[in-house]
């Protein structure tokens, strides 16, 4: 059995240590000259048009051309035009401000969903990133909304406590969260990273540290975090809809390690444990484990493939975006030339037979513009461990995305 002091005191002790460290570094503040070099801006604009069917299997059941046409007309149209404005100001050696604002106008079914959610506006405004980094000779202190990206996996990454993958994004991009972060370099290739959430109540906060190093060509790291109970809600918030909402908010001590290196093919993995609390005591008998393994390889510089597995074991709390016992991911890309590629990926949950896949053709039209045509299909919700009903339909959609950078 392991006895911890009151969690609030523990949190206070950690934060106090951070403040003492900052105060200790404060003499260096006087030597930091104010840097005002204005803001550097960049922007991307994209429009996404999608035609979707709630029951894609109806096409296979069509017995005639008329039925096929009726099914085709039974789809619904949605779209999203997004302008992302990024800015960065300051100096890397003293202080920086980084931000990313997304302005999106939905239409079709997407606009209807927004109206149903009770939004009085016909658009969405998202502050995807906004943080300040103050750099001292011995440390970098960041505060605000940022992506804390720990994981080695392209999709499965249980160690990514603070950033969830956006499954609606073809590129499987990640979403930021509000944290305070202290990064302490130990050498050019090693360091210590201390992070704590800001948006959660203190008794539900998620905080802790991770240390990393590169040895003999392998990237290695170990982490230890305290989950006050807010982790599931945090990941729901960053992951968006269809998150693991059914999991209770259970306080736990999280720890583990990860690696990435080469064994002819690229090989990486993460192994984590979660020991829940009963009151202020840890309950090792109910420890939950998560293991993610992945490999990537390329053939002739033309074909690129990635295979990943994530397994969750034990009776204890489950964390991460994918809660089923056995989760699989496969990705295959074919690069026709420097401007054109065909990409595909498939997520399959063995326990529930839920799956999600996408096939896309991407083409760079000119220097700063690209076009993507894609088809996506899914059955069930891949994030949860809840069993799938037999009559769960296959959702099918066809889309087109045009994107330009400035």
């Amino acid at each position: 059995m392991f006895i911890l002091m009151n969690k609030r005191c523990f949190l206070g002790a950690v934060l106090l240590s951070l403040w003492l460290l900052v105060l200790g570094l404060s003499p260096d503040l006087a030597r930091l000259a104010a840097q005002d070099r204005g803001l550097a801006w960049n922007a991307t604009a994209s429009t996404d048009l999608v035609y979707s069917f709630s029951d894609g299997a109806a096409f296979a059941r069509s017995g005639s051309l008329q039925q096929f046409a009726e099914t085709l007309q039974g789809g619904f149209y949605s779209g999203l035009t997004t302008v992302s404005l990024g800015f960065q100001g300051g100096d890397r050696d003293s202080a920086q401000l980084v931000g990313l604002v997304k302005f999106a106008i939905p239409y079709g079914s997407a606009a209807a969903l927004l109206a149903q959610a009770g939004s009085p506006l016909a658009y969405e405004l998202e502050l995807a990133k906004l943080y300040v980094t103050v750099s001292f000779p011995q440390a970098d202190l960041s505060l605000g909304r940022m992506i804390v990206n720990y994981g080695k996996g392209r999709l499965f990454s249980p160690s990514d406590l603070f950033s969830a993958v956006n499954l609606q994004d073809q590129a499987l991009g990640r979403v930021g969260t509000d944290v305070i972060r202290l990064q302490l370099p130990l050498s050019d290739l090693a360091g210590l990273d201390l992070v704590s959430t800001l948006a959660l109540p203190p008794d539900q906060a998620v905080f802790g540290g991770r240390t990393f190093a590169t040895l003999s060509g392998w990237d290695l790291s170990a982490m230890l975090f305290q989950n006050g109970g807010g982790l599931a809600g945090l990941q729901n918030g960053t992951a968006g809809s269809a998150g693991p909402a059914e999991e209770p908010a259970e306080p736990a001590l999280l720890g583990g390690f990860d690696w990435k290196g080469d064994l002819i093919l690229g090989f990486y993995g993460e192994a984590l444990f979660a020991i829940p609390y009963a009151g202020y005591r840890l309950v090792p008998d109910r420890t939950g484990y998560s293991l993610a393994l992945g490999a990537d390889y390329s053939f002739g510089g033309t074909w690129f493939c990635t295979l990943e597995y994530q397994g969750n074991f034990g009776q204890g709390p489950r964390f991460g975006q994918f809660r089923a016992d056995t989760n699989l991911f496969a990705s295959l890309s074919w690069k026709l030339d420097e401007w054109t590629s065909v990409n595909s990926h498939l997520i399959y949950i063995v326990d529930t037979t839920a799956w999600q896949g996408i096939l896309s053709l991407q083409r760079t039209l000119m220097g700063r513009t690209s076009l993507s045509i894609y088809s996506a299909a899914s059955r069930g919700i891949v994030r949860t461990a809840a069993p799938l009903a037999e009559n769960t339909p296959i959702g099918l959609s066809f889309g087109l995305t045009l994107r330009a950078a400035f």
Partner: protein, 257 residues
């Protein structure tokens, strides 16, 4: 007409030589005899510098299409390099090279990834310059045996022709052929070959400039002969040698800051 005396003619010629020094151009045949190892060492000595900072442009051409990538680079010898792209579509993407290891940083995802070994043969940012080409630290002698195949004139420059044969499995190419400027000791042309002498890649120096005592190739054309048409032109401008940089310039901290 009075004949000029021979001694007067000789004195006149010597005087003229003093006023107009005759530049002696070495021809390929007159290059001093050096071994392959000596030539490679002179190339390395020419290319040695403390810290180099420059602005680079990659013009990636395939058939009629052109992609332009711009970046700022800082390099310490051939073991360390830090590159940050500044063209709009790639702005903020960074590379860090330390010896044989390469990391990339993607600012949108705030993600640092280590480039797997099998990806090192890929072209950097879609160019014909592979990560392996960029990573190949100097000292070719550690990976290749070298022999002087002869001398040639290349675009008016007398050159040593070197033939390199891989002596380790880690050498990126089975064979290489180099045309080395016999006066400046810069590589003017190189060919990367397979075991069967099939041409894989070819690079050609388009511009060579002098910086102090050293000569530097500031414009290079690389063509992947396994692809149809196209190639990558690599240009270096605003070169600054032996600049001072922060202590952590070549670190993961700087990469993700």
């Amino acid at each position: 007409m009075k004949k000029l005396s021979p001694s007067y003619v000789i004195i006149a010629l010597v005087s003229l030589m003093g006023l107009f020094p005759i530049q002696v151009n070495l021809s390929a045949q007159s290059l001093p005899s050096l071994s392959g190892e000596e030539i490679l060492k002179k190339i390395d000595a020419n290319a040695s510098f403390g810290i180099l900072r420059y602005r680079g442009v990659m013009e990636i051409q395939q058939q009629k299409k052109m992609l332009i990538k711009e970046f700022m680079a800082i390099a310490e010898g051939d073991a360390k390099a830090f590159v940050e792209f500044i063209n709009p579509e790639d702005r903020g993407i960074r590379y860090l090279k330390i010896d044989k290891d390469l990391w990339m940083y993607f600012p949108d995802e705030q993600e640092t990834i280590k480039i797997s070994g099998h990806l090192l043969k890929e072209g950097m940012m879609g160019s014909d310059v592979s990560y392996e080409d960029a990573l190949e630290s100097g000292n070719l002698l550690k990976k290749y045996t070298v022999a002087v195949a002869g001398t040639e004139n290349l675009d008016g420059r007398p050159c040593y022709v070197l033939e390199l044969t891989a002596s380790t499995k880690t050498a990126p190419y089975d064979k290489q052929k180099l045309w080395v400027d016999g006066e400046r000791f810069t590589v003017l042309k190189s060919q990367m070959l397979s075991k069967s002498d099939k041409l894989i890649k070819e690079s050609l120096a388009l511009q060579v400039r002098q910086y102090g005592k050293r000569w530097f190739v500031t414009e290079l054309r690389m063509e992947d002969k396994l692809k149809k048409g196209g190639g990558t032109t690599f240009k270096m401008t605003d070169l600054e040698f032996d600049v001072s940089v922060p202590e952590d310039q070549f670190s993961l901290r700087r990469l993700s800051r």
